[in-house]
Amino acid sequence: MATTTAPTSSHRAEAPSQVKHRPDRNYRRKQRWGWLFVAPFALIFLTFLILPLVYAFRMSLFTSTLATGNRFVGGDNYIKAFSDPIFLQGLGTVAKFALIMIPAQMLVALVAALVLDNLTTWASKFSRLMIFIPYAVPVVIGALMWGFLYSPRFGPASSIFGIFGLAAPEFLAQDNIFGSLVNIVTWQWAGYYMIIIYAALRGIDPGIYEAAVLDGASDRQIALRIKVPMISSSLVMVVIFALIGTLQFFTEPQVLRGVAQGAIPTSYTPNMYAFSLAFSYSQFNYASAISFALGIVVFVFSFFFLFLTRKQSGLK
């Protein structure tokens, strides 16, 4: 008896709460307004992101070569992509960029933010602006500008090195192009990440620092033992931004290729490879597959990184 009554009673207990959730007229009207406000965004989102994505995915399931027609091949393009040495080599290149470039940007951004957080003079505001300004320069313009700075003829390097009687390094040569690109990206993005980190630092209760000073902590200890751990979730976010951006590396090498076609081949990064496949070699189907394959890689990398840092980012 008791066993049969118990579930029934619990059923009954749930019933009122369900009634509560049933949308009344007022709620429904509110919901309509909500949809209305979301509509402009949803429409654009659907037309310019979701539909093209679906279309591109459909394209990636077909193949059409120059000499033969269009035909359905299912996942063949993906198998081909993940065994394509050019694509894999491009992935290797961006992985190398990720290993070098992300720590470099993080370090610059973190140090700048920590220093600025401690300064209270007018110099602080001014420096903050100066460090942030490269981010305000459009990426293409920035890359073009660095192209000129790196140029042996127009750039300042040859005259600066000339003062010491040295030959300037060839920034656009095959051996140096990697470092030259790391430099451009760090210059451009470190300021942006600095602002994110700085904002997080500003959110910490200053009372904690007072307590730390009373306990005899030095400035360095406050910075490394208190500030950095307390903003770890922002740091994780910055790394995620940088990781996704680096895996999709495109604009800077594509622009710099204009002055260094030998050192930067058309398939330097996976995104450049997809671009040249589609628009130079008319292989739209395989280019779509490469794009989705890159998307999968970005997703996997980001997912694993978030999983590994779930404690720091506060996801767990």
């Binding site: 120059l66 000499a67 095959q174 076609q261 628009f279």
Partner: protein, 450 residues
């Protein structure tokens, strides 16, 4: 309050749309229906049907105006959709999407088969192309046709010659080289004279330039006929190509030539500031040179024929040159074909192109005219460069065959030559690797290799 705010926001948005709509339309020539909205030029006769044209020729607007004034029954609606690859990218996208292509399009002859294989161009023989065949230089016509089909009407050519700095040659005591052997000797002499100039640049991204040099030693990289589009012959590593590339590899290793990328700001400056004593150029090169800034004011430029491998049997080659083709998307193909043949297919139009745009004409009545041969060029100290150099080069050019994936082939050529210049492989290996990669690509694309 809220409703009022929303309403006024709506009005603002509507006005904004209306305003931008207006400004978008104001570029039109003020006539000829909705299509005219995108014309760069003024439509003279609003009643006549219009043919859309994409082209990037210099001074083309004057040619279009001349055409529109001279023709009552058809009008050109011209757009500059970018130069070379920029335009091809747009054309390629509109082929894929099935709409958006113009009726008539300027294409370099080297990319014609890349578009015919995608069924994007109309065979002009059914619209009377063969009737005007006699009006065009033979090599140029050959480049625009494939087998019996004619896919474009030639406009301008790029027969090659050698532009050189007489002042630098004199200072180093160099005679103008007529063979590649003499060219190498001159390069050594110039280097020993020690004023820092090298004889020329050998760009790894020379693309058609490199290919033209190979052709001079008898290299025939591709065999292709659009009547049989699934079959292709590839021989980019033949003897001629190897001979030429080994020669240049030698010059590079001895530091006798530069290896700067072509068409960069650095390269443009070096062309005119005395860093290179020679510019191995096509017939459009003189026009290109004159357009560059930072030129050495004391430069004395002269033109001479391209050095030869065998002075007794000179071989003439071509670099660049373009054509007008009719696209499959053209609404009225016959009318479009008429425009393609008519724009530069008359003396008025072609003369404008020659005088204002520095084109080297493929249209025989102008090409073979006294006036063109005797034209004196101030930039070359009054030298008649057409008579001295380019007319012979054009007459001797027999045409070439390009692959239906020429852009890919050029990109791979750049990769291989760059590797060679970096010392990673020798010339012969570079061309063998190129051959292998192109064969693989062709097979992947479904071609049968002959």
């Amino acid at each position: 309050m809220k409703a009022k705010f929303l309403a006024s926001a709506g009005i603002v948005a509507a006005t904004a749309v209306a305003l931008t709509g207006c400004s978008g339309g104001s570029g039109s020539g003020g006539g000829g229906g909705s299509e005219a909205a995108s014309c760069t030029n003024t439509i003279v006769n609003a009643e006549a049907p219009q043919v859309t044209v994409w082209a990037w020729y210099p001074a083309f607007s004057e040619v279009v105006d001349q055409f529109n004034n001279a023709n009552d029954d058809v009008q050109i609606c011209w757009t500059n959709a970018g130069q070379g690859n920029d335009e091809y990218t747009k054309f390629s996208t509109s082929i894929e999407s099935g709409s958006g292509a113009p009726d008539v399009i300027q294409l370099e002859s080297e990319v014609l088969s890349s578009f015919t294989i995608r069924d994007a161009l109309v065979d002009l023989t059914e619209f009377g192309a063969n009737d005007v065949k006699a009006d065009y230089a033979e090599g140029a016509w050959e480049d625009a046709s494939s087998g019996d089909a004619v896919y474009a009407i030639p406009v301008d050519g790029g027969p090659m010659g050698m532009l050189y700095r007489q002042d630098l040659f004199d200072a180093a005591g160099i005679e103008v080289p007529t063979t590649w052997e003499e060219f190498e000797a001159a390069a050594k002499k110039l280097k020993e004279s020690g004023d820092g100039a090298v004889i020329a640049d050998f760009p790894t991204n020379g693309r058609a330039f490199n290919q033209a040099l190979f052709a001079q030693a008898g290299s025939v990289p591709f065999e292709y006929d659009s009547a049989n589009p699934q079959e292709i012959g590839i021989k980019v590593n033949d003897e001629g190509a190897k001979k030429v590339l080994e020669y240049w590899d030698g010059l590079v290793k001895d530091g006798l030539v530069a290896t700067d990328d072509a068409f960069t700001a650095d390269y443009n400056t070096k062309l005119v500031d005395g860093s290179y004593a020679v510019y191995l150029a096509a017939a459009w090169g003189p026009g290109y040179l004159q357009g560059l800034s930072d030129a050495d004011p004391n430069a004395v430029w002269r033109a001479a024929p391209l050095p030869q491998w065998d002075a007794a049997n000179p071989v003439q080659v071509n670099w660049g040159g373009s054509t007008f083709a009719v696209t499959e998307q053209a609404k009225d193909k016959e009318l479009a074909a008429k425009v393609a043949m008519g724009i530069f297919g008359n003396e008025e139009g072609m003369n404008l192109g020659v005088d204002k745009g520095a084109l080297f004409p493929s249209y025989a009545p102008v090409l073979e005219s006294e006036a063109f041969a005797n034209k004196e060029y101030e930039f070359f100290g009054g030298q008649q460069i057409n008579k001295d150099v380019f007319l012979d080069a054009a007459a001797g050019y027999e045409g070439a065959t390009f692959s239906p994936f020429q852009n890919y082939a050029y990109d791979q050529l750049t990769v291989e030559i760059y590797a060679m210049v970096q010392g990673e492989k020798d010339a012969s290996q570079a061309l063998d690797d190129l051959q292998a990669s192109l064969e693989q690509y062709a097979t992947e694309q479904g071609f049968t290799i002959k």
